[in-house]
Assembly symmetry: C3
Homo-oligomer: 148 residues x 3
C-alpha cells in the first residue's frame, strides 16, 4: 500500500503532527506534578497523602496546556482525515507536500505560541494558517470526488 | 484510489461533517470577540490593553459553543473512522449513502439545536440519531471482518 | 479492500476501542440524569420545569466521566490514525495483533481505573501502556515510509 509517494508523504507528516499532539499529555502531567495541581483525588494522594484534597485544584498554567491540547484535537484530527482523503485523490506530489509542510509548521509554531504565551496575533496566525490549509484541501477533495 | 463510488460517497459526507465541525472554531472566536470574553491574557490584551485582566472570564454563550464543538469531536470523529472502515467492507452504495446522509443531517440539526438552544428533546434526538447510525455501521463492520 | 488480514485485525480492534470511547457519552448522560446535574438550561427544564436553573451545575462524578472521555479522544484517536498507517506498512500479523490487543486492553483497564477511581498508579499505568504502544507504532511507520 505504501508504494504511493503521496501516501508516504502524508504518512510522514501525519505521524509528525500526531506525535506533536501526543506530547501535550506528558507536558500536562509535567505541569501538574511540578505545580502540584491535580484533577483527581487519587492522583494527589499519590503525591501527598496529607495535603491530598487541597491539591485538587485548577491552575492557569495547566489550563493553558489543556487548551492547547484541545485546540490540537480540533485542528490536527480534521487535517488527518482531510489530508488522507486528499492524498487518495492523487494530487501532484509537490503540491501535496506543500500543504502538509505548511500545516505541520503552522501547528508547531502554534504550540510554542500557546505554551510560551507569545503576544497575539502570533497564535492566531499559526491557527489560521493551519485551518486554511485544511479547508483548502477539503475543497480540492470535494471538487474531485463529489457524490451526494 | 477514488474509483470506488462508495469511497467517493464517504469522502463527500466526511468532508461535509468535517467542515461543519471546523466551523465551530471561527464561531467560538466570533462569540469571544463580540462578547469580549477571553481565555488567555494575550488575547484580551490585543482587544483592550487597559481592561485586559477583566476580560479573561467565562461566558455562558461561549461555553455553549465550546460544548457543541466538543460534542462534535466526540461524535464526528468516530463517524469518520467507522464510516471509512464501513466503506472498505463494500456495502451497497444506496445503503451506505443512507447512513452517511442521515448522519450528516442529524449532526447539522444537532448544531442548530445546540447553538440556538432549541427546547429538548430536539438536541438529544439529533445526538441519538447520529450515534445510532455510527453504532449500526460499527456492528456491520465487525460482522464482516472480525479478526481478534 | 478487506482481503488483507492485517487490515481486518486493525478494523476489529479499531471498532472495539471506538465503541468503548462512544460508551462514555451515554455514561455521561446516565450520571447527569441520576444526579440531576446539567450543562444546559433546556436540559434541566425537561427534567424539572420548576428547579431548572438550580440544576445547571457542576458535579465531581460527571466531571470525572467527562475527563475520561476527553482522555479517550486524546489517546484513542491517535491510535486509530497511527494503527491504520501502521497496518498499511505491512507488518507481521502477529506483531500487529500484539500492538492492537495491548492497546485495547490498556484503554479498557484505563476506563475502569478512571470511573471507579482505582488508587494510582493504576490509571497512569493504563494510560502509559496505551501511549507507548501508539508511539512505538508511530516510529515503526516513520522508519519505513519517511518522505519529508
Amino acid at each position: 500500500m505504501m508504494d504511493s509517494e503521496i501516501l508516504r508523504a502524508f504518512t510522514t507528516y501525519a505521524i509528525i503532527v500526531i506525535l506533536k499532539m501526543m506530547l501535550m499529555s506528558p507536558l500536562t502531567s509535567y505541569f501538574r506534578l511540578t505545580r502540584k495541581v491535580f484533577a483527581n483525588l487519587e492522583d494527589s494522594k499519590l503525591v501527598s497523602p496529607i495535603l491530598d484534597k487541597a491539591l485538587v485544584r485548577v491552575d492557569p498554567a495547566v489550563e493553558r496546556v489543556r487548551r492547547c491540547h484541545l485546540n490540537d484535537l480540533e485542528n490536527v484530527i480534521p487535517f488527518l482525515a482531510v489530508g488522507f482523503l486528499y492524498a487518495l485523490t492523487g494530487p501532484e506530489l509537490s503540491t501535496a507536500l506543500l500543504h502538509y509542510r505548511i500545516f505541520a509548521g503552522a501547528r508547531i509554531f502554534h504550540t510554542f505560541a500557546y505554551i510560551l504565551a507569545f503576544p497575539q496575533p502570533c497564535r492566531a496566525l499559526g491557527f489560521m494558517v493551519g485551518l486554511l490549509v485544511t479547508v483548502h484541501m477539503a475543497f480540492r477533495v470535494l471538487g474531485s470526488v463529489l457524490l451526494l
